[in-house]
Symmetry: C2
Subunit: 192 residues, 2 copies
């Protein structure tokens, strides 16, 4: 399936657009490809776009003063990513996004998204629901952080994204779980 169909199918789940409306919407996206390791957004950048992933895997992460990395999100096909705090508020990026593998994405500028949301009610509807889902997922992860120890969070993650285990190096999984790579290694080594 090509990118256009993938996006179309993705949106059809929550909004009804005619072919013409969708074509118009789609015409504002730009197709981009990135290599493994390539950086898409780095700290301090002006953030103008958000990305819809067609293939490959991205990560959104934060690096603190002690050079420790924390991963906010792995972005797999049909998921969206950006530094939304920077994108929505027109501030400089505080998180970075780069490619765990080669990746194809569709990008759309903040400006175009707002324009089309204004022009097509159904597009605004779609974006409202997309963010609703993200919000609920973020709250769920927050609860998991407060409520579960590292081992439980690890098992939760694998249950949610079985593909990650073979796709993503372990130290990145540790950075997502919020534990050190040593601790993660001990979690699945021990049969505790």
């Amino acid at each position: 399936m090509d990118g256009k169909d993938l996006l179309r199918q993705h949106i059809a789940k929550t909004a009804s657009l005619t072919d013409d409306e969708f074509d118009y919407f789609f015409s504002h996206f730009k197709s981009e490809t990135f290599k493994k390791g390539q950086v898409i957004i780095s700290e301090g950048d002006v953030v103008e776009k958000e990305y819809f992933v067609l293939s490959g895997c991205l990560k959104a992460f934060f690096v603190n003063d002690n050079i420790k990395m924390h991963i906010l999100q792995f972005t797999m096909p049909t998921w969206w990513t950006s530094d939304y705090a920077a994108l929505y508020n027109n501030t400089k990026a505080t998180i970075c996004i780069d490619c765990i593998s080669d990746a194809e994405v569709l990008s759309i500028s903040n400006e175009d998204r707002e324009k089309i949301c204004n022009e097509l009610h159904q597009v605004e509807h779609f974006f409202r629901w997309r963010t609703n889902k993200g919000y609920v997922a973020a709250q769920k992860r927050l609860l998991s952080f407060m409520n579960n120890d590292a081992k439980t969070r690890y098992e939760e993650l694998l249950a949610l994204y079985p593909a990650l285990y073979n796709m993503v190096p372990k130290h990145l999984i540790a950075a997502y779980l919020g534990v050190s790579r040593e601790t993660l290694s001990r979690l699945y080594t021990s049969s505790k």
Copy 2:
């Protein structure tokens, strides 16, 4: 200021509604008052409404199998709250909401919100932006959990909501920060 004006002002920040449109929107809200300690949503409930707080303070929390409470959100005036996972997906409540003080709220049903979002584009626009903000705030808190120790999170919280310190018992602040009440007590006792 009465509740209607408060809501009007709140919405005017992100959406433009005519007086008639706002009156129509407002006509779907129900005014409700609760006493300190009163439970608004409890685990297992069917969740049909969300709440806009006019006065007082609510908390949204989760109680785990060990009877330990984790607070997802304190809701102060002009903030919204509900169990959104349950509300959006029509599932049973997994989190509870109750009143830290006497409170006045406006409530609107999921059904009515969706109906009006469909009828009035600007209302949909408003709810999209509200959730955007919530999503960004949730991600920020997640990062803070991964990146900061309890003392830093405590200072962040006080900087963000100075009013909380005198309004909310310490053990609830501990439950929000994700530490035990003993640890919280030691944080601000020691001058570390």
